[in-house]
């Protein structure tokens, strides 16, 4: 019932629309403002990566973003799950890593930000092409 899907064209101008939507969704479901901002940041970075790397900057492709609530392993708190599905270039999930932050240079921070703010992050190659990223965040104060 609480699942919500947005299908966004792969233009950077749409990122903030989806980000604001997921932040509102998180706040409405008991996450703090700070946690909602973090979820929004992760969605922002993930969509930017899809546009840049998955679609090579093409703006006429689609990105499916689905938000839903899930039970934590203890069942004590509802986590927020975000699934980002694209239909672009497939990459080996093992190659999608945070980079060393001691190497100060522009770029490459997106995956680090995603992994830093979300509790669970998993990439997979979709059987029907493209990639699927699943991210979960649990509220701090359950």
């Amino acid at each position: 019932v609480s699942e919500l899907t947005i299908i966004a064209p792969s233009e950077s101008v749409n990122i903030c629309v989806v980000r604001c939507a997921v932040e509102t969704y998180a706040c409405r479901h008991g996450f703090s403002r700070e946690e909602a901002d973090q979820i929004g940041l992760a969605v922002n970075e993930a969509m930017a990566n899809v546009i840049k790397h998955g679609y090579g900057g093409e703006c006429d492709q689609r990105i499916h973003v689905t938000f839903s609530l899930i039970d934590s392993s203890s069942g004590a708190a509802k986590g927020l799950k975000v699934v980002i599905r694209d239909f672009g270039r497939q990459v080996d999930p093992e190659c999608i890593r945070s980079r060393n932050l001691d190497d100060v240079r522009p770029g490459g921070l997106g995956v680090h930000l995603i992994r830093s703010v979300m509790d669970e992050v998993g990439y997979r190659q979709h059987d029907e092409g493209g990639m699927e990223l699943t991210m979960i965040k649990y509220p701090t104060m359950a």
Binding site: S12, V13, I15, C16, E34, D37, L41, N44, E45, A48, I51, K52, L101, V104, R105, P106, G107, L109, G110, H112, L113, S116, V117
Partner: protein, 114 residues
């Protein structure tokens, strides 16, 4: 300053650019994300080309910044350092400050409150 007027748009990310002697001040606003970062980069790169010794970037009105915004500022910092200049960031909002902290860039940049 006239030469930057074309980059200053209503509701755009660059509210103003002041150059006085050896100092420049860039006033940013709104969201500095993948959509707006190229405009910010264009302004900063013009200032870097002039090798202005001290560049201040006001972040008071920046409500959001993503990794593309961070990358733009890191690139600017590296270019300023190459000609022994100084780049200072002023007054980031809590939300923006936290992105710097997650990326550990708060240890790299000179960030000040005025």
């Amino acid at each position: 300053m006239m030469e930057f007027d074309h980059l200053i748009k209503e509701n755009g990310p660059v509210r103003g650019v002041k150059v006085e002697g050896e100092k420049a001040e860039v006033d940013l606003s709104s969201d500095i994300d993948m959509n707006c970062s190229p405009i910010v980069r264009e302004v900063l790169m013009e200032l870097m080309l002039k090798q202005i010794p001290e560049i201040g970037i006001r972040l008071d009105n920046v409500s959001y910044m993503d990794s593309s915004g961070l990358a733009t500022l890191v690139e600017a910092l590296q270019k300023v350092k190459k000609y022994n200049g100084r780049l200072v960031l002023y007054n980031p909002q809590k939300r923006v400050q936290s992105v710097f902290e997650i990326a550990k860039l708060n240890q790299i940049f000179d960030i000040r409150k005025t």
